[in-house]
Symmetry: C2
Subunit: 457 residues, 2 copies
Amino acid sequence: MTVEVEALKSLLGGADQVKTGPSAIDEHGRDMTYHPLAEPEAVVFPQSTEDVAEVVKWAVGTATPIVPYGVGSSLEGHILPVEGGISVDFAEMNQVIDIRPDDFMVKVQPGVTRHQLNQSLKRYGLFFPVDPGADASLGGMAATNASGTNTVCYGGMRQNTLALKVVMADGRVIDVGSEALKTSAGYDLKDLIIGSEGTLGVITELTLKLTGIPEVTKAGKAVFSSVRDAGAAAENILKAGLPVSRMELVDEYTVAAVNEHSQTDYPEAPSLFLEFAGGEQAVNEQIDFAQDIMQSENLVSMQFEADEQARNELWRARHEAALAVVGLTPGKMLTSTDVAVPISELTEAIVTTRQLLDQHHYTQAALFGHVGDGNFHVVIGVDRDNLDEVAAYKEVNHQIVDYALSKGGTSTGEHGVGIGKREYLLKEHGQGVDVMKTIKQALDPKHLLNPGKIFLD
Amino acid sequence: MTVEVEALKSLLGGADQVKTGPSAIDEHGRDMTYHPLAEPEAVVFPQSTEDVAEVVKWAVGTATPIVPYGVGSSLEGHILPVEGGISVDFAEMNQVIDIRPDDFMVKVQPGVTRHQLNQSLKRYGLFFPVDPGADASLGGMAATNASGTNTVCYGGMRQNTLALKVVMADGRVIDVGSEALKTSAGYDLKDLIIGSEGTLGVITELTLKLTGIPEVTKAGKAVFSSVRDAGAAAENILKAGLPVSRMELVDEYTVAAVNEHSQTDYPEAPSLFLEFAGGEQAVNEQIDFAQDIMQSENLVSMQFEADEQARNELWRARHEAALAVVGLTPGKMLTSTDVAVPISELTEAIVTTRQLLDQHHYTQAALFGHVGDGNFHVVIGVDRDNLDEVAAYKEVNHQIVDYALSKGGTSTGEHGVGIGKREYLLKEHGQGVDVMKTIKQALDPKHLLNPGKIFLD
């Protein structure tokens, strides 16, 4: 089918709101990952919820697939128009609409990015705590139910989103959730839309919950001689009820890759990156307690920093882990798997995963985890044009996911299903998948909202 | 229609699993609230998920409504079989199935109550933090998305439930959610089932997230000379990012009712009840900071206690608020409305609500709130057989809800819609209600799962 571009243009005010030139098409047909290219036929830049509703109605009338697009930082091919159609890019819906500091609340358009939002909040002593690493768009973060390094303390997108405005497949605009901090009024459509990856509706506005910037933040790095020691220390810190605001484990091979890539000389040993935040005395007390716990687990060395720059320097090996591995293999694309397992299974899962990587001869693979959530990543650079390389990656990914599922875990802790994890959904949810499909069928009977994502068929 | 009791009995192993005697019918046809009586035709006591699946299949085959029943502590008539049919009582599914302290996780049957669960967790230094006041069943708490006094710190049922086993309307048993602490794998069926009040599926097992019992807990009571001062103090404590584990406001009329009912002599003034938990130094630092903030808001007096018994005594006026008001009017039944508004609207909402109560001559009405969530209750004793009294209550409730909705709030922060809040759903969610109904229609096309709840038609 061919998109009737002129009809689409006439729907929207500005002629520039619909692009079909090669650069726009190319840009919206690729991402930073190994997933195969898939181009849209046109790219639409809505400026309002009304624009989106018009576009959705037009698309449904013409049986045109619609793929929402934020900044393209998703990792499982969510933004790739695998069945053609149009890409709906939220670049022009990037306004922070209303900051309500007294309500710990902000309303934003979906194209606002995380850094942009936090920059606008700083003067109020507030921040939005979901931190997936990338400077993702908030619409995209909601669509994939993103989380990240400080989810152990603050939760992910579901816990930090109060309400959404959503254009449904029939063009109706609905408001889901509430400006109240909690509600039991009817079905939880907000959390159904969050994580539905653009397949049930298109998010056009988000009301987010904000958190006060803590008085003091101290970041630490603890070095251990084995991943097991580091894992045991992390588990015991959690068990003691210590309120860590971040807790990340990076294995020795990953530190070695960072050293090679960035010409640093961090000790090439399993490292636990920690952060505590709150009142000065509380933070110091927590650090002392954490240190006691870690010493019982053969802590080799530990360092804490309060100053923001020193904290960032201390955490550099964590921040650069993914980029280092991809950077060491020029021309390769990112793969980042993200299984999560129950806490007590995490250490064993990390050890087993590294063994799998060794068996598959992945000498340069980063492995690091959000230990507090039982969630970890494996990052490998893959040449997306080399089918053998892609197949080999898929095989090891398959084994990592299978292991996690066998331990009661999930195939994706925070990146979403997209096209990369579809084959595991049935294994993970069994007949629950039929229920998901029943809902999809009821709300998008023509299957035009981001088709080809989440479900295999 | 008449329930074919013999057919039902033959489905289940024990003859005692189906009761039709007057006491069982009566017990399951009433609750502690003002809602009109509505009796089931039979009461079924399943002993397993398989039992529930059999009962659901039978009920769908015979077009019999199914109403799940926990301990009957719900406040909006959820457990009343308003369209007849059978009550499914989980009294015999009350086992704590598996405690996994290393995973901060427990699996329970839906008939387990909150106190029973916390009793079984104590030896592991863990607790389940959702505290709605009543010793409710966990199945019922999930069905209504319950929360309570410490939700400001720990969240409600959605945040503290990892996974559910659910019997759907066609008898299929599905597992939703994950044992991992977070997941982005497919649609969030777990949070759709939570708060769906038995209308989308019947919960037969819950996997809950546990929290470590804090080292130190200190509870305080701060007395102010006006509700505005107390409200402003609460808002500023939140803004300062102080991690309160509970924060409750009780107004002066409520304290007077407690004094009259319990022969106590608490100062009859607006009181803020606080709790801080964590390490000793952290808690002391937080209390000092909170005291500074409250003094800027004309604090009259303040008292903190660490010992459990002393804490309970200090909080007595809060704990007894609802019972005191109902106790002062023998024979009357409980009404407890539970609107929630954005934080900055709370103080004004409480003042306005008390004015509404005065206008309607409710001299004995308790008003107390979960200030940290913007959620508050009005409790009035009503004679359920006196239609004028019921109508008068409904009118003031209507005005309280309308006010909350006009400020961006919700008609129910934690009790659920049931039959008592149905008329507000459309006003609160607009076309979102159609989307909810589409999902209901797709998943329970014969409308046999707890019919007559949530939706007006």
